[in-house]
């Protein structure tokens, strides 16, 4: 018979104590190990390095950070789940800590929950975060709501140890990412707009080009070759109709030569995955007239006098939605479920001939670990339209103000849009140390550090400083795998988007600001819902714009029409130069 032995209480407590002490030792050791291995992207760049930049705006020589002591200060930084956006913070926080003694604790939250987490923390006074890295589109809520620090004096300071190399940041990024009501509430860390991508193996193949011409009666609008040393112009502007023809031609056959079926186009079409930024790409060229901003010009969202939604009953929006619907069968069969990640992965895997995305596909395309099309990715603006709906005349008009022409010689109306506004660093008023938080954001967005981030495909940050485009920076772009011509083509498109002025009113940038109002999330949710329903064929384009218009009116009334009108006019005024 086996005797059952029971452990007495004293022995139990002794063993338990030993286990807890052992676990504590292992935990402390592990934490110490983690603290020492915080990666720094490039040992060649240190926090004391002096970097000279000479971009278009000739920014002054700068040092990345002045010696400061923030020992004992821990800042809680919240941002999107990595690797995008959170990744570069992990990469550089070690170098900043080494220089200043401060500590950055990163809290990662999925994109869809980020705004809610931040707002609930700030409005309830929970003090959960010190630094927010989030889109500039939320500045009306964060800075405008009085939760984040007004950085105007710091960013415009003439002291080189305080100013975040402000004049080196492109004007549209400065205004749209950090400005609100004449003040600046954030430090830009990213440049956001959509651009088009095409696979050169498809577009530049002479055989395919001749077959395309035989079928559609005109040449593929993408350039015949970008490998012959040409740098200007690298592409010809195309219309959405030409884009659709290209997508149709290259859809569902093996133009890639790997024995698999390849597709015409990829767009983000799934609900809850930022697809609402694609509807603006479609709608702007059919509905936005140059000039203004006034009741009928440079308006994508609302009538600035009445705050009535532009889309409601707008033939330009309806035409755009019809075209967007026609794209669905020209992509992979499951494209209605595609998020941004699938678009990016699919394009660089060579699955699609065309795609629309932020500048991320460009840097991903040259990374051999991610891409099967290294050196074969072409870059262009988002497509335009040869006809524009004039709300005043209630008729279609030709884009006579444009010098870009389609295959028939008709001028093309095209608008860059600041889709997503761009990631920026905001400091919560209750931060443990506003000075330390500002210093970290200034360090993260410094010309030298930001250049390291914008050239990599895994960071989610895109060029926004003049110095990123400067000849001195070319070496860094080439080190990432770009050819000189491809780097120039890629940067040229981004510069064009942010640097272009309105063809009728040169005192205004052409780049349309992202929707940036109190209640932006509610407007976007309505747009997202009806746009994805329309793409899925559940709503007609006419019903879609009517439903969006009706819901946007309700949201505007809920927030107060006059207040929203004032906020909208503030948003538009950010586009004025000088």
């Amino acid at each position: 018979m086996t005797e059952k032995k029971e452990m007495d209480r004293r022995t139990y407590i002794k063993y338990l104590g030993a286990v807890v002490a052992g676990a504590a030792v292992v935990g402390v050791g592990w934490a110490g190990y983690e603290a020492t291995k915080s990666p720094v992207v490039s040992p060649a760049v240190t926090t004391t390095e002096t970097v000279t930049v000479s971009g278009t705006a000739s920014p002054p020589p700068v040092t990345t950070v002045a010696a400061k002591n923030y020992s004992g200060i821990t800042l809680k930084l919240v941002t999107q789940t990595g690797p995008f956006i959170a990744g570069p913070v992990y990469d550089h926080r070690g170098a900043w800590a080494q220089e200043t003694g401060g500590t950055i604790e990163v809290i990662e939250v999925p994109w869809s929950d980020l705004y809610a987490k931040i707002m609930t923390s700030m409005t309830t006074g929970a003090k959960a975060f010190d630094i927010l890295i989030h889109g500039g589109q939320f500045i009306p809520d964060y800075g405008g709501g009085g939760f984040t620090v007004d950085l105007t004096d710091r960013v415009t300071s003439t002291d080189p140890n305080v100013n975040p190399w402000w004049s080196d940041i492109m004007p549209a990024n400065r205004s749209y990412e950090s400005g609100w009501g004449g003040k600046f509430y954030a430090i830009p860390l990213d440049g956001d707009h959509h651009m088009s991508y095409y696979n050169k193996l498809a577009m530049e193949n002479p055989d395919y080009r001749s077959k395309f011409k035989a079928k559609y009666g005109y040449d593929i609008p993408a350039p015949a070759s970008t490998k012959d040393g040409k740098t200007e112009p690298l592409f010809r502007q195309y219309t959405w109709e030409e884009w659709r023809d290209m997508a149709e031609f290259f859809n569902k056959w093996d133009w890639f030569g790997d024995g698999k079926t390849h597709y015409g186009v990829m767009e983000c079409m799934s609900r809850g995955t930022q697809s609402y930024w694609w509807i603006y790409d479609h709608a702007a060229p059919y509905s936005v007239l140059p000039g203004g901003p006034d009741k009928y010009h440079w308006q994508l969202y609302f009538d600035p006098e009445t705050m009535e939604p532009i889309c409601a009953g707008n033939q330009g929006w309806i035409e755009a939605l019809k075209l967007a619907q026609s794209m669905v069968p020209l992509g992979p069969p499951g494209m209605l479920g595609y998020s941004v990640s699938e678009v990016r992965a699919g394009m660089v895997a060579g699955e699609s001939a065309l795609a629309i995305d932020w500048p991320d596909i460009g840097v991903m395309s040259v990374d051999p670990k991610l891409s099967k099309i290294v050196g074969n990715c072409g870059f262009g603006s988002i497509p335009g339209s040869a006809k524009v709906w004039d709300r005043e005349k209630k008729d279609w008009v030709k884009a006579d103000w444009s010098t870009d022409l389609d295959h028939s010689g008709a001028p093309i109306n095209q608008w860059p849009i600041n889709n997503g506004t761009g990631w920026a660093g905001h400091i919560v008023k209750t931060a443990a140390s506003v000075d330390a938080a500002y210093d970290f954001l200034r360090f993260l967005g410094s010309p030298a550090i930001s250049l390291l981030d914008v050239v990599r495909g895994s960071t989610g940050f895109n060029p926004y400083r003049f110095s990123h485009f400067a000849p001195e920076s070319m070496r860094t772009w080439l080190q990432q795998g770009f050819t000189q011509n491809d780097a120039l083509a890629y940067l040229d498109e981004i510069k064009r988007a942010f640097g272009k002025t309105d063809p009728v009113n040169p005192k205004k940038v052409a780049c349309i600001p992202d929707l940036k109002l109190p209640g932006t999330a509610a407007y976007n949710d309505s747009l997202d819902l009806h746009y994805t329903s329309c793409l899925a064929g559940k709503e007609t384009p006419e019903d879609c714009v009517a439903a969006i218009g009706k819901e946007w009116d309700v949201i505007t009334d809920r927030f107060g029409r006059d207040k929203q009108k004032a906020a909208y006019q503030t948003m538009l005024s950010a586009g004025l130069i000088g």
């Binding site: 707002m119 799934s270 609900r271 809850g272 209605l336 479920g337 509610a522």
Partner: protein, 295 residues
């Protein structure tokens, strides 16, 4: 030294209950009453328009009644709950009866069947997102082997909700198996023996012995799953985010969108109370049925 507390023996029990009552009041009673109060308030945190709730009478309730999205989501939630619980019940009962027999490997099979229930809903969601991927997912691959056309499981509103029902059924059928198997094992052998002596066939044994004696357990299992599926959020949020359109948007997902995406906390509470009323109605119907049958 003895400390004397000025409480009679009768009142001491109440003193011991006070901490528990405080916890209950803080965690359950106050939030319930406060959120009911919020249903009569406007509280828009977006843009810091209203940092505190402002009483607006019954406007939110009028809005709820007129909100076509609420009613559409209510229908989706009911279809989802009915579909998922039906599948879970039928398959669960069949599997439980199988496992109640003396079959080889019964022990290991029981453990394997429980694995889906142990996985977190987010993991299950991502798994099904891959399984239902139109181009690369194994579901369409197996369909192609039998000559069936590929379905756009997550992009076509006609099949997205059934796909989500299947995902939920996969995860929670083991719960039904577990509960119903316990019920089956609790049924005494004598009624079976008597039925066999009287010449009853397998169907008659099931219909007149097993089913009536298992009914109390089945009712509890179905109520528990119905209440859970009426509150479904996680799988839908991860896999479809309610899309395409609102074809897979449940009431819980709508509560999250209104309350935490749009930061409209007042109206969000109304939608949440709409869901609560639905759950109470369904649970009451089942409980009354149980009471009537003296289960």
């Amino acid at each position: 030294m003895t400390v004397r507390i000025g409480l009679s023996e009768k009142n001491v029990k109440y003193a011991f209950l006070i901490p528990c009552m405080i916890v209950l009041a803080c965690l359950a009673i106050f939030p319930t009453i406060y959120s009911l109060y919020l249903t009569f308030c406007s509280w828009e945190l977006s843009g810091a328009v209203q940092l505190w709730p402002v009483f607006n009478g019954g406007q939110n309730w009028v809005r709820l009644v007129q909100d076509t999205r609420f009613w559409s989501d209510l229908g989706t939630t009911l279809v989802f709950a009915a579909g998922a619980v039906s599948i879970e019940f039928i398959v669960g009962l069949g599997m439980a009866m199988l496992l109640n027999r003396q079959i080889p490997g019964r022990g290991i099979l029981r453990v394997i069947f429980l694995i889906p229930m142990m996985a977190t809903p987010v993991v299950v969601g991502y798994t099904f997102r891959m399984l239902f991927n139109m181009e690369h997912g194994p579901v369409n691959y197996f369909l192609s082997l039998i000559g069936a056309p590929a379905l756009n499981w997550l992009g076509d509103s006609a099949v997205a909700l059934p796909a989500m029902i299947l995902a939920d059924a996969w995860e929670w059928t083991p719960f039904m198996i577990l509960v119903l198997l316990a019920g089956l094992q609790a049924i005494p052998q004598e009624p079976y023996e008597a039925a066999l002596v009287d010449g009853a066939g397998p169907w008659q044994v099931f219909r007149y012995v097993t089913f009536p004696m298992l009914t109390p357990v089945m009712t509890v299992a179905v109520i528990l799953r119905l209440v859970e599926t009426l509150k479904i959020f996680d799988i839908l949020y991860v896999v479809t985010a309610g899309g395409p359109g609102i074809s897979t948007e449940s009431l819980s997902l709508y509560v999250q969108i209104v309350g935490l995406t749009q930061m409209s906390l007042g109206y969000g509470s109304n939608v949440a109370y709409g869901l609560l009323v639905l759950v109470i109605i369904v649970a009451t119907i089942f409980l009354n049925r149980m009471r009537r049958q003296k289960l």
